[in-house]
């Protein structure tokens, strides 16, 4: 795919350019082959959620729509040189698609969004990546997984998600939070609703909160041998599944879920135009920040081009830039590689960069090398769910029911 990109984008000094030949001529003559070729990479793969949705979604044409949607966005991303605007569309649609797909499946299988105690005893709760900080230390100390899900079989089992998380951490670092996380798009979507921020000044000290939440979640989970984040703090319980309110404790927990969702995912992102849940609360985001250290990609600022206008600092959705970091030509550890700063930098001073290479020499090459795995990861994790969601919506339109 890198070869295809390099051959079809003449402004790009791609690593594979020297291999120009018949393929270049062919693609140059029939550029529509590129999206088709990309389709194989961004859609036709063997990940379980995709195959699961494939069986139910193929007949409605939703699969085709998903292919077209993904490939159009990716081609636009490559040809226009703009990253964030197309990534955001992709990211938000994946999140909405996930919610539709997940809730309708729950209702179809269980009859409601309620997670019954019986489901938990039998290990039937789908595992999501946000629970990872809760399970790591208890697993190391007690050799047990403190989450009521299946360890290795069925949809969204614990180890499958851990494998995906490790893969994402190695390839994207905290890029996971802007390319792979199927909750992040909700936060992002609401942060883009208002034209101007009403809440302009947020104290930088709040950026330490995710690390405090991470520490608290790990500690409480270890001491109680239970998934503390899922039980008490997850805002996304409000739009996925939650325990039936059968006691005062469960009532309090549900009230917390709803309050956090309304506050951190809807209201504060609208007011601040920032991703508050992702940037100032999510414990997995904090843990994921550490993986930026071992990841080969990073975002760098060319100090020769930078005019210190501060636009990137004021726009960064996850508070990953400040004056000091800009002076050093780097982002903070929490950078999610969303590309917003790059798209809005008036001097084009910010770019993706590969560690170990010379700054500014091959920014386009670094961008391409990051976008392929990032987009591939996002489409693979979200493709099946989006196809499933489109299928449900088409069913709703044609039959009046989503089921």
């Amino acid at each position: 795919m890198l070869l295809v990109y390099g051959l079809t984008n003449p402004s790009t000094p791609c690593a594979a350019r020297s291999l120009k030949g018949r393929l270049a001529q062919t693609l140059g003559r029939w550029p529509f082959l590129m999206p088709l070729a990309l389709g194989f990479l961004t859609g036709l793969n063997l990940c379980p959620p995709f195959l699961l949705a494939f069986t139910g979604a193929a007949w409605t044409g939703s699969l085709g729509l998903t292919f077209i949607f993904f490939n159009t966005l990716f081609v636009l991303m490559l040809y226009t040189g703009r990253t964030d605007v197309y990534r955001a569309i992709f990211f938000i649609v994946i999140a909405v698609g996930f919610i539709i797909f997940f809730i309708t499946n729950l209702i179809e299988v269980r009859g409601s969004m309620v997670l019954k105690p019986e489901n938990m005893i039998c290990g039937q709760a789908p595992f999501c990546h946000l629970a990872i900080p809760s399970i790591i230390v208890p697993a190391a100390l007690t050799r047990t997984i403190v989450f009521p899900g299946s360890l290795a079989t069925g949809f969204a089992n614990v180890f499958a998600m851990v494998v995906l998380w490790v893969g994402a951490s190695l390839t994207l670092g905290r890029g996971w939070c802007s390319w792979g996380c199927f909750y992040g798009g909700l936060d992002e979507g609401f942060s883009r609703l208002a034209k101007k921020p009403r809440l302009k000044h947020i104290d930088r000290r709040w950026t330490y909160l995710p690390y405090a939440v991470l520490g608290g979640v790990v500690l409480v989970s270890t001491l109680t041998l239970s998934p503390a984040y899922c039980e008490w703090l997850c805002p996304f319980k409000a739009v996925t599944e939650f325990p039936a309110v059968t006691s005062f404790k469960l009532g309090v927990q549900t009230a917390i879920f709803v309050s956090l969702f309304v506050g951190l995912v809807i209201v504060l992102p609208i007011l601040s135009k920032r991703r508050i849940q992702c940037g100032l609360f999510c414990p997995l985001g904090a843990l994921q920040s550490l993986t930026n250290k071992i990841n080969i990609f990073e975002v760098r600022i060319d100090r020769d081009k930078c005019v210190d206008c501060g636009r990137c600092i004021s726009l960064c959705p996850t508070f990953s830039l400040d004056e000091a970091s800009v002076r050093q030509g780097r982002t903070l550890l929490s950078c999610t590689r969303c590309g917003k700063c790059m798209d809005h930098c008036p001097k084009g001073a910010i770019s993706y960069h590969i560690k170990g290479t010379k700054l500014g020499v091959s920014a386009e090459k670094a961008r391409a090398l990051f976008l392929y795995p990032a987009f591939l990861f996002g489409t693979t994790i979200g493709g099946g769910m989006l196809a499933g969601a489109i299928s449900r919506l088409l069913k709703l339109v044609t039959t009046g029911s989503m089921f």
Partner: protein, 153 residues
């Protein structure tokens, strides 16, 4: 040195795309291998731990799970024991069982369950049996969890 670092950087960057593909392909078969390799299991606080004894009652069986007191370090003062009646189709309207959870030769509590209404009654014979945590309608069984005091604490 700079050229070597750049070469390694580009190599790792190029490998990121195939690594993503391998990650997704591996997310199917790898979990089972990892579970076996690590020996990790579901927490007993969630699944009720292993069945310690199966009591045959003719048409149905009573499965007595190992009492769970596991803590982070050592054991907790309070835990629970899960008792299953199975198969569901063979259960009479009302079932009862006397349980000796600490295996000292004397029953610690008697548990009665109305299968239709899922109402359970606990009759403690000593202070070790505290209360009923919950009654659960499983696919092929009815399960009851009884809160217990740890006799070793």
């Amino acid at each position: 040195m700079l050229r070597l670092k750049a070469f390694l950087g580009y190599t790792l960057a190029v490998l990121a795309t195939p690594l993503v593909m391998v990650t997704f392909l591996a997310s199917g078969p790898l979990p089972s291998i990892l579970v076996k390799a690590t020996g990790l299991t579901l927490s007993p606080w969630i699944d009720g731990d292993v069945v310690r004894q199966a009591v045959d009652r003719g048409a149905y069986q009573v499965l007595l799970h190992r009492p769970v007191f596991d803590g982070l370090v050592g054991e907790r003062k309070q835990g629970f024991m899960q008792i299953d009646w199975t198969p569901l189709s063979a259960l009479p309207g009302r079932v009862a069982e006397e349980v000796d959870f600490d295996e000292d030769g004397q029953a610690d509590f008697r548990l009665e369950l109305d299968v239709q209404t899922s109402q359970a009654t606990l009759t403690p014979y000593n202070s070790k049996a505290v209360s009923i945590e919950g009654v659960y309608k499983l696919e092929t069984a009815r399960a009851v969890r009884v809160v217990l005091r740890n006799p070793r604490k």
